[in-house]
Symmetry: C2
Subunit: 358 residues, 2 copies
DNA sequence: TTGAAAGCGCTAACAG
DNA sequence: CTGTTAGCGCTTTCAA
């Protein structure tokens, strides 16, 4: 057992209350006693026990984080941003992953609540129908959603405007002359963002008088390997590209990992991006910039999302006098113009397609 | 304030001790009272307060994790492995990053100790000279190093054999006919692994009677952008490649991010891998497999490292009767044969180099 | 099988 | 400025 405030008090010849005062309100202790206590502290190697403090205070200065997976860089970056900001604000971070299992969301939050975290930052599968969020609401525990962009709700959240970002990405493809643009998406069921991005795709297509193609929904992916190929959906992707004259000239993917996996799978059957098809991702993972071709993408500021979420959460925990916290923070997205996308005219076989399409 | 065991006791008409018993030793409570208590619990939405429990027990069933950064996938994967295993063993995870600042290592551990974590998993800059580890030793807190591979020490650690893995990587390059092989490394100061990998490089070169080239040490990197180019070391890299006849035919990089950044920087001046130079990385990040060319690398099983570290730590926390835990666990590495590396003969200008080198 | 009581480490009145 | 005291939620003797 490490030394407690009691031993320090004994050693310094003061009461435990005084020791506590030095720790929390140094100014309320005389120079002399402060020195004595300080000396006892270093001598004993005393370290305050947060469990005692938390129990007493009813607060823990700890926040919980729940993300689907760390295999996707976006969430790792986000956690990075959270941790950095937390440290700056003197909060600790308890971390949990769900591997996209919705029942694990509930279990994770349950555990965090037992630890009496002061608040939670989380990304859920579907913010509009989440028992987990209902629990948090019922318990009155402050929480901030990341990546989730809840519609018509006063739930705190930090994200980009998924629909608008997807729209911009697809509009960019259209501006480059593409007409047959198809969306490749992760399971809509596992990600409400995917649905919003699909709506953005629809928006852009319709705004330009183009016929949307049915979305290609693929298995959830955790690792980058064998995401698309070999699965049913992988087959779907390859089928879609089987007929060179019917195939889309551009693919808009609901996230970068998917885009990369799709490129890999297509490459295996001789279809190269951007030579044969333009590929656009979503997320803007840093490594995308190092690839050849550079991955075009709708970029989200993941680390900033984490940073903002943490600050928003802390503001909700310690309501400061002054301007209230807006419920939803929409951060700016950007379109990265990578070489995985090129103009329609530059696509191999554009002419034959041209004949077909118009 | 959420309901406490006290309220449950009151509601169920029993003592707090009995409620506690139901929670911890269900078998020691009669069927009837168990039901009554259970009912009170659900009715009140009771959730045990771990702070109270921990305070009393002197254990927290929480472990701390300290990694340099989450921007490098390796550490994210490792944390992922830790969290997964922790959940399986009913431990919680407190997470901290240091951004490669050595003073933050100490601060992070200090914070974790105040939370009274039962143990710590960490990757430090230099395991052979770390005040942080000394603190942990002094306090008698179990800890497990990851990636660090301490020499001649009984400190618990989980890693690959960095030196052997680097040797194998370089031997592979040599087997492909390369003779002028140079190492590109992160700051030795910030990573003892980098030094060990350098020794592996030296081993391989010498074992084959080749003259080692001086290592190219570059700035520490956190993001993937502008790692090498533009910095002093970046200039160093480009200088090294300025003379086409003197330049190395293969580059062995101390980690994958560095390899990718180097390829990007060289590409900018018209030097392409693998056409003009073979590039080998270290880490085996999953995305390396999706790149073109696929990144050859010495692969570490990062998620398994995390998993193993957690299990090793828990074993150290609850010493089980039976076989003791070995101090150092060396996990198997593998060489990924990516297309970023090709035979020396296939390198453009190999002949002219040949003339020079022999 | 159950209850009473003490105490884990800390802080916050309340006195002095 | 400092000490006394009570109690945060929980577990664990010790008795019954």
């Amino acid at each position: 057992m490490p030394p407690s405030i009691k031993q320090v008090a004994l050693q310094a010849g003061v009461s435990t209350a005084t020791v506590s005062r030095l720790l929390n309100t140094p100014s309320s202790v005389s120079r002399d006693t402060a020195d004595k206590i300080q000396q006892a502290i270093t001598q004993l190697g005393f370290r305050p026990n947060f469990n005692g403090r938390n129990l007493r205070a009813g607060r823990s200065r700890t926040i919980g984080v729940v993300v689907p997976t760390l295999s996707n860089t976006v969430f790792a970056q986000c956690l990075q941003g959270i941790e950095l900001a937390a440290r700056a604000l003197d909060y600790s971070v308890m971390f949990t992953a769900t591997e996209y299992h919705q029942e694990d969301e509930a279990a994770a939050v349950e555990l965090l609540l037992r630890h009496r975290v002061d608040g939670v930052i989380l990304t859920v599968a579907d913010a509009s129908a989440s028992p987990t969020l209902d629990v948090l609401d019922r318990e009155g525990i402050p929480y901030v959603l990341t990546y989730n962009q809840p519609q018509q709700s006063e739930r705190l959240s930090v994200s980009v405007d998924n629909r608008a970002a997807a729209h911009d990405a697809v509009a960019y493809l259209i501006a480059l002359g593409h007409r047959r643009i198809q969306m490749l998406s992760g399971h809509f069921h596992a990600s409400d963002r995917a649905i919003q991005r699909y709506h953005g795709y629809l928006d852009a297509m319709r705004a330009h008088g183009l016929t949307p193609l049915p979305p290609l929904e693929v298995m959830r992916h955790t690792t980058t390997s064998a995401v698309v190929g070999g699965t049913d959906a992988g087959v779907g992707l390859l089928q879609t590209f089987a007929d060179a004259r019917e195939r889309p000239s551009a693919l808009f993917c609901s996230n970068d990992l998917l885009a990369l996996a799709a490129m890999r799978d297509l490459r295996k059957v001789g279809i190269e991006a951007p030579r044969d098809v333009s590929v656009m991702g979503f997320d803007g993972i840093p490594l995308g910039e190092l690839m050849v071709p550079e991955l075009a993408s709708a970029v989200q500021p993941s680390e900033l999302i984490g940073d903002t979420a943490l600050r928003t959460l802390v503001a909700a925990i310690d309501p400061q006098p002054g301007p209230g916290v807006p419920a939803s923070k929409i951060l700016a997205h950007a379109i990265r113009h990578g070489a995985s996308v090129r103009t329609y005219e530059a696509i191999d076989g554009a002419n034959s397609q041209h004949v077909m399409t118009y």
